[in-house]
């Protein structure tokens, strides 16, 4: 978990990401040879097909009707029912779609933002600040990830019902505000990507701890923070068991609400899958925004600002 041995600043200064060089009009030779070749694109295409195919298949079923799933001769062209099925989902009285959608968006955003903030703070401390017990504490935190959480729902429920928070969105948000996983991730990332020299330089120039954190840590953490935000958001979005237990049916989150489309007996999967795809759309929008953050380089930010 120690930082990689880094070259002295003299070399670091030259380490700008290629897109910035390009912007200044210089010719660049990317490290690993020239432009990515055919084989890379082919490999990526295979990966993409494997990733997108299930969505397409869901869309096929979701645009059909109840018998489409079991139809041995199901065609590969979508039927025309998707909008109709989606509307059925949204209007289904048991599902409470719009409150559920809002609850999911609100809770996932707050959770993801909070996890990123707290994890960056703690990760910075574990990675770059020396203090007594840091190693032991970190190991302890990571070790807690190894305890299965299926039973933890019960004491949490008792705690929250004593607080009177059952049925409130706060009961979903508060338990998820911190994440051992997030702390571990930021720790590893920051320890890998921030050379100690940068911090020393800042300290030598008289920056306080907070200032150092703000100017070096937060900036270096940006791609990792964006990633953590995405992952945490998606994880919170898809969470089922705890919201199922603690929220009531009038204001659930989306996975709980959509589960009501199923039943012990007869399930119309075209409706279910239309609902599932609907629930995925906000996530895809988030992807489009967050994706940008993962593209640009890091070191330049720390150096130039």
């Amino acid at each position: 978990m120690s930082a990689i041995s880094t070259p002295p600043l003299a070399v670091v200064e030259e380490n700008l990401p290629n897109d910035r060089r390009r912007r200044r009009g210089e010719r660049t030779t990317r490290i690993r040879g020239t432009r990515a070749g055919f084989w890379v694109y082919l490999g990526l295409a295979v990966v993409i097909v494997a990733a997108i195919f299930p969505y397409y298949w869901s869309f096929l079923i979701g645009s059909g009707d109840a018998s489409t799933l079991n139809d041995p001769n199901m065609s590969w062209i979508p039927g025309g029912n998707f909008i109709a099925n989606a509307i059925t989902v949204m209007n289904n009285p048991a599902v409470n779609f719009w409150p559920a959608l809002w609850n999911s968006i609100f809770s996932s955003t707050v959770i993801a933002a909070s996890v990123v903030v707290f994890s960056t703070l703690a990760g910075w401390a574990f990675a770059k600040l020396r203090f007594r017990g840091s190693k032991g504490l970190l190991i302890f935190v990571v070790a807690t990830l190894a305890v299965p959480t299926q039973l933890g729902v019960v004491p949490l429920y008792i705690l929250f019902s004593d607080l009177g928070w059952t049925g409130q969105i706060g009961a979903i948000i508060v338990p998820a505000l911190t994440s051992a996983f997030g702390v571990f991730w930021m720790t590893q990332y920051l320890s890998q990507t921030v050379p100690d020299e940068l911090i020393e330089a800042a300290r030598v120039d008289g920056a306080s701890m907070l200032r150092t954190f703000w100017t070096v840590g937060v900036v270096a953490a940006r791609p990792a923070a964006a990633m953590l935000f995405l992952f945490t958001f998606v994880g919170a979005w898809n969470q089922f068991f705890w919201p199922f237990i603690v929220l009531d049916r009038q204001s659930p989150t989306l996975p709980v609400a959509l589960s009501l489309l199923q039943s012990n007996y007869f399930v119309d999967y075209s409706i279910v899958l239309a609902g599932v795809l609907l629930a995925t759309i906000p996530l895809l929008i988030l992807f489009a925004f967050a994706g940008k953050q993962l593209v640009s380089g890091i070191m330049a930010g720390a150096v130039k600002g």
Partner: protein, 344 residues
Amino acid sequence: MTATDTRATTSPDSPAQKTERTPRHIMSFSNRLSRWDLKVSPYLYISPFFILFVIVGLFPIAYTAVISFQEWDLVRNTGTFVGLDQYIWILSQEQFWVALRNTFSIFILSSVPQIILALFIAAMLDRNIRAKTFWRMSVLLPFVMAPVAVALIFSNLFGDNHGLVNTVLTNIGLPAIPWHKDPFWSHIAIATMVNFRWTGYNALILLAAMQAVPREYYEAATVDGANAFRQFWSITLPSLRPTLIFVIITSTIGGLQIFDEPRMYDQNGNGGADQQWLTITLYLYKIGWGEFNFGRAAALAWILFLIIMVIGLINLAITRRLVRDEGGRGVVRQRRRLRKGAHK
């Protein structure tokens, strides 16, 4: 292209410079503040996390620990102390050992290909490709898919009678595979579900770390004549060490706790009539939420914890051995020498 941090305040009479001239036993206030800052802030930085963590993270864990030594009644919230009885019961159950076998099998079948594939995909995404955002986000699409949809798709894919895979196999003359009867094949199918979901995720984690590797290293290596593979092995991997450790540890923990996929594999969610794909967490769920025997389930949770600790440490040791922390010393050192000579 100056290196110095333009944002750090540089005043002519900075306290730091002052200290060099003042004798040590006279400390200015700002100096003391700075020392205090150095000592105390780490604890301040981690405290928001820890305070919340103790309340909502540690509390359920402590509860699980306490009831594992009891015969616990979920509804009445009381129990009688039975010492290690619950642990002994679990260890003497054949289903436990079968579940352990299944868990390891699925774990190895999923983690190993996943990490290799993730490294590979990350390396591809790291290259100079067009439409970077599109490719990178698409890789994450499987992670986003709701569990119910994944379950539906894969049970249709791996259905014993009408599944797509079996249909293709029989069409080309091979025998159909008993996906839901044979333990090994069920593990393959479940591992496929797991890999589908998590490979892109791990690839992006590795990608983020790969992007942070200074390009200088690669340029130097190219000049020195190292090919792509050598560069990957000697530069990329060692630079990724902390992140690789992260990926391996989280994959170990996650892989030994696989729950959703085996549960969705058939409509009963019990791991198969002969426990063919019963994993430890699924067994835990059966005992806890199926029979409401929380004391036993808690004991199983802690047994799993111990197993994960052991395997995690082993994996950590392996990773440290395999991936040296040299940061591509050999190649870069030469480069540094060259640079220093040519540097203006």
